[in-house]
């Protein structure tokens, strides 16, 4: 298959700022994703591919043409959708798209006809005579896409096409891009900082960070690099429990101690009874946890603290516990958590599997912090309050379950 992009040691500097560093790429035709955070060099790379910027070093060939010298010829075969507004106030939709076609070298009449067709493809036929300043954001994005597609380019360069769209608009745009990515013999380079967008449209992805290519390959390969993670919540002293997990190769990504208030009627000696008697330590794991269906049946939540603590003994008051997010080795089995918990005398209150999504893989590759990790990094007080309210909700659930029984 013909190569669409060939970049050899491409570097680019803006003054003393290095935007791209030794980028080497050889990509075949098809939908390709370009992922990177803001400032990663995506837009600079696109400008180089369009022949608008000459790379400070290295060679770039696009569709077999030298991007340094054949910029205008190249742009007649490439469609570029910029991330910025890029609309021309005062024009209407059809004029805007037809102008784009004319500037790509289409005769005026054909550009107009094709503009009508393209706007119809993208569902903007009713808005084509509307002034651009009256377009919504979603419509503007589709209009920009129409202007990109009007001359039926061999390569589409789309810079953050979903930026600013609401979830519904974003899904519609990705759906549309997924369709356009299947144009026979055509290619698409979709730049985004959201790997989820890339995943929906492209078969392969380039991960760019601080001007360097971190990874290039199929999305499946990236998926294979996903880690298995769990989110745990327990009652009891967590230190020895976590040490046991560590000894078994479990990586503790984040953890914190929790002191939770349990709902219910306070009775004398409630704390001691709750923590030390069968409620937390033995009742939890043995009755509800492992034996009655483990994770999925809700055995941990109902059988653990709540059945032993609230229902039988009425244990009320602050309870010491903890919460952690862990990454387990590939061969890890869930029951090993319970074994460790039993061994260290803690009661697992929650155990939920968290399969790493591609965004998290991406953030791990670039050494950043994913949203999920960031959620753990919130102030401890706020977390404790959140955990307390979680526990209250769990308690309510448990009471409801008890009443049902």
């Amino acid at each position: 298959m013909a190569l669409v992009l060939e970049l050899a040691a491409v570097s680019h500097w803006y003054g003393s700022f290095r935007a791209l560093t030794e980028v080497d790429l050889r990509l075949e035709a098809g939908p390709i994703g370009l992922v990177g955070q803001n400032g990663a060099g995506k837009s600079t790379l696109m400008q180089i591919l369009l022949g608008l910027i000459r790379p400070t070093q290295g060679q770039a060939r696009v569709l077999g043409l030298d991007a340094r010298t054949a910029g205008m010829r190249l742009r007649s075969r490439v469609g570029y959708m910029p991330d910025r507004n890029a609309l021309i106030p005062g024009l209407n939709g059809i004029e805007y798209v037809a102008l784009a076609g004319e500037m790509c070298g289409m005769p005026r009449r054909q550009a107009l006809r094709r503009a009508h067709e393209t706007l119809s493809h993208l569902g903007l036929e009713d808005a084509r005579y509307r002034r651009l300043d009256q377009y919504s954001l979603g419509m503007s994005q589709r209009l920009k896409l129409a202007a990109t597609l009007v001359h039926d380019p061999d390569l589409l360069l789309l810079d953050e096409p979903t930026s600013g769209l609401d979830p519904e608009g974003r899904a519609a745009m990705l759906n549309l891009l997924g369709t356009l990515a299947r144009r026979p013999g055509k290619s698409l380079l979709l730049a985004s900082h959201l790997l989820g967008d890339i995943e929906r449209v492209c078969g392969s992805a380039i991960i760019l960070d601080k001007g360097r290519v971190l990874s290039v390959g199929r999305i499946e390969t990236l998926r294979a690099a996903r880690q298995r993670g769990y989110r745990l919540r327990w009652d009891g002293v967590g230190g020895p429990f976590l040490d046991t997990l560590r000894r078994h190769g479990v990586r503790i990504e984040a953890h914190r101690d929790l002191v939770r208030e349990l709902p219910g009627e306070p009775t004398g000696g409630a704390i001691g009874g709750g923590l030390n008697s069968g409620g937390l330590n033995s009742g939890g794991l043995n009755s509800g946890g492992l034996n009655s269906g483990g994770l999925n049946s809700g055995g941990l939540n109902s059988g653990g603290l709540n059945s032993g603590g609230l229902n039988s003994g009425g244990a009320i008051g602050p309870v010491v516990g903890g919460e952690a997010r862990v990454i387990v080795p590939a061969e890890w089995r869930t029951r090993e958590f319970f074994a460790a918990a039993v061994a260290q005398g803690v009661t697992l209150q929650m155990l939920s599997a968290e399969e790493e999504d591609l965004d998290a893989v991406y953030h791990r590759l670039i050494g950043g912090v994913s949203d999920r990790q960031a959620a753990f990094a919130t102030p401890a007080g706020a977390d404790a309050r959140a955990a307390s309210s979680d526990a209250q909700a769990a308690g309510t659930d448990a009471r409801a379950a008890g009443e049902a029984r």
Partner: protein
């Protein structure tokens, strides 16, 4: 959703010549200005003096045709419509105020909006270069200048010829045509370049109008003051409109006042420098994206 469902069709036809890339830019630029109401107000104001002149020439022609003996009397009364080069030069010079106002407001629409709203990325990502864009926009501005100066002057020239001596007038005064075109071209070139440069750095209307006022009101006033203070007439070169008028006088072949003609060559240098510096100032602004390291 499939390609068939959205009825997508490919396109593969012969492309036009790439050097024609300036044409859709110029056409669209004009379209954008013509759509604004404020433009029509200024054009209406500009056409007032044109209509007055048009009527004057017509009246003069009618009076002299009906009573040839009145010719000298009519020439004396309607002295601003003698059909000489000065008639058209002075008419074009008098259009200055309205032309300045028109351009000040058109600059943001023609150039400023592209810089401000990211339109540059739209243009430059197509099969055009920066020079196509530059030429297209300069032609738009140039056409607007011509619309209030050169074109009305040409209409008056042909009106005068057709209503008075016809063929003889055109034969004897062909240099006037050269003068109108030369003066008009100089006006269009200098004003287009300057407006483009100012609008590319001051893309919003209000700062642009203020800068424009500074160039065409404050600088000439400063020049006059400095001339009075120092006694050097070279300070008058600060009035760009006056410099261009001097070049126009030269184009018409009119002798002008000898004191004024002393400044002809310096005026030419100033006009050329304004054009060159303006284009040099514009080029760095013609980028598809802003770089934010």
């Amino acid at each position: 959703m499939t390609l068939e469902e959205i009825r997508y069709r490919g396109w593969s036809e012969q492309l036009t010549w790439s050097w024609l890339g300036w044409w859709p830019i110029a056409r669209t630029g004009l379209l954008l200005v013509l759509r604004r109401k404020v433009f029509w107000i200024f054009l209406g104001l500009a056409s007032l003096s044109f209509l007055f002149m048009f009527a004057t020439i017509y009246l003069k022609a009618q009076l002299t045709t009906q009573n040839p003996g009145f010719r000298r009397f009519v020439d004396g009364i309607l002295s601003n419509a003698t059909g000489t080069g000065e008639t058209y030069r002075d008419f074009m010079f008098a259009q200055g105020t309205v032309t300045m106002l028109l351009l000040a407001f058109a600059g943001a629409t023609l150039v400023g909006d592209d810089i401000r709203t990211g339109g540059m990325a739209f243009y430059l990502a197509r099969r055009i270069g920066r020079w196509h864009y530059l030429v297209g926009k300069l032609l738009s501005v140039g056409f607007l200048v011509s619309l209030t100066t050169t074109l009305p002057a040409l209409v008056l020239y042909f009106e005068y010829g057709l209503l008075t001596d016809s063929i003889e007038y055109f034969r004897d005064n062909w240099t006037i045509l050269r003068g109108i075109l030369g003066y008009g071209l100089t006006l269009a070139a200098v004003l287009s370049c300057l407006l483009f440069a100012l609008a590319s750095w001051l893309p919003r209307t209000v700062p642009l109008v203020m800068a424009w006022v500074g160039v065409f009101l404050l600088l000439p006033a400063t020049g006059e003051m400095l001339r009075d203070a120092t006694g050097s007439r070279m300070w008058l070169l600060l009035s760009l409109w006056r410099d261009v008028r001097l070049i126009g006088t030269w184009c018409f072949g009119a002798a002008g006042q000898p004191r004024e003609l002393e400044l002809l060559y310096p005026s030419m240098i100033v006009a050329a420098a304004v054009c060159v510096l303006s284009i040099a100032a514009v080029l760095p602004r013609l980028r598809a994206t802003r770089v934010v390291p």
